[in-house]
Point group: C2
Chain length 258, copies 2
């Protein structure tokens, strides 16, 4: 059976996260329903990552095996007719048998958005966290560098994860004031612990308001105590922006698209 | 009584427009309720314009008379505690007695946003209109110039308005591809007919897809037939961005803020 990789965008506001669960509307369930209707058989997709309730994705990957070939460029339109407005397939490609959206991705990029102004903005409320006080972005930039590299991130992990190790490789953490009222915290890495990006964002916010010094970050990482890091910022500010994988390695051996 | 001018931002998605009406949730009702709670008496605000159901506002003006003075910079926080998340006061200033948000404004700027890509984007769905086919932005730019100036715009007015004249002065109409997938149509003018900006946007979209030529716009204006213009685009793509007035003329005579 041909294997498809879907690039999916969703507004997480009304979802209880990506992964199927007993209660709550999930992105995975919507995708399963849509592809099952299109291919007229029961199909389940496998996602590149769970995302928490309320987290958005500009690009989330899922793979699935399909019973017949529809040309790649026709797939988004074909699947989207069965999807609601808050989740849509943006692109689809055939990949080699065995390629996994879960195990063959090499990294992910998240952006945490802060709306920083004296008064809240209804037009920015859906995709950012509102912070009404002034933030020292230079201090946040300085602090962000300490997160880069391979570290034991247990201080930046919510209870309830099932990981074997707390060590993760973080490629990049940056803080940018993109315009007067918007601050973006970018976090890219190979893999992440439960709530890790939202706790890093909360810690950088604490640096911005002066309650944590940039020079204290290495010590917080080494001590490994959750209570020393900042708070977990709300899900709505977080967007999964990109998922990395090797397109050449993922390419289908034969070419089912023709 | 001191007169206040409120600068209000709202997400129009869940509103039946600005103006109070018998059925439906309106921005004006939310503002009336909030200021009445704050000042502990029945107060009604007067807005600079009705906006249609679903239209957003980055900056909408309302004036009201208040029974006592709260310092200007404390007013947004004070009113906002009684407002829901989709409407907030961004700024407040005291104005002279008799200054009217409705009659003393000199112009308004609207932006109509088009999301132009092969596939729809859930993260852009709330504030833009999705157009899946390629648009000739140069042709749209050329067409936009014909709207500028004083014209009889009856071809660009929905039935149901109560205006005495269809003549309006339009200061600027421009079309900009702000990035790969986003097109912004800016329309600034002294005043507008019912649905006028959404019909101008629909006409420019028809120019973009080749069904109307830029050179045909003057003729459509002169003939004055609604059916010759483009369709009325959906409200969700439209945002009232700025409202113009003379700050010096509006200034309070005495200074109730001190």
């Amino acid at each position: 059976m041909p294997r498809l990789l879907l690039f999916v965008e969703y507004d997480g506001t009304d979802f209880a996260g990506f992964q199927s669960q007993e209660n709550g509307r999930t992105v995975q369930d919507e995708l399963n329903k849509a592809v099952s209707k299109l291919y007229k058989e029961d199909i389940k997709v496998t996602g590149c990552s769970r995302t928490d309730a309320g987290v958005h994705a500009k690009c989330h990957l899922s793979h699935l095996d399909v019973p017949f070939v529809i040309p790649e460029d026709k797939i988004p339109l074909a699947v989207n007719q069965f999807l609601p407005g808050d989740v849509k397939v943006r692109e689809a490609i055939y990949v080699r048998d065995g390629f996994s959206a879960r195990f063959d991705i090499t990294g992910k990029k998240y952006i945490y958005r802060i709306y920083n102004a004296r008064t809240p903005s209804p037009l920015n409320d859906r995709y950012s966290y509102f912070c009404p006080y002034e933030l020292d972005v230079d201090a946040m930039k300085e602090a962000s560098e300490h997160f880069e590299g391979e570290h034991d991130f247990r201080a930046f992990c919510a209870a309830g994860g099932s990981q074997k190790t707390y060590t993760r490789l973080i490629h990049k953490v940056s803080v940018t004031r993109t315009n007067e009222n918007h601050i973006e915290i970018e976090v890219s890495g190979q893999a992440f612990l439960y709530n890790m990006v939202r706790i890093i964002a909360g810690t950088l916010l604490a640096v911005g308001d002066g309650s944590i010094l940039p020079s204290e970050i290495p010590e917080i990482i080494i001590k490994g105590e959750r209570k020393l890091a900042g708070k977990t910022l709300p899900a709505k500010g977080l967007t999964l922006e990109e998922v990395y994988f090797d397109r050449a390695l993922a390419a289908a051996d034969s070419s089912p698209k023709t």
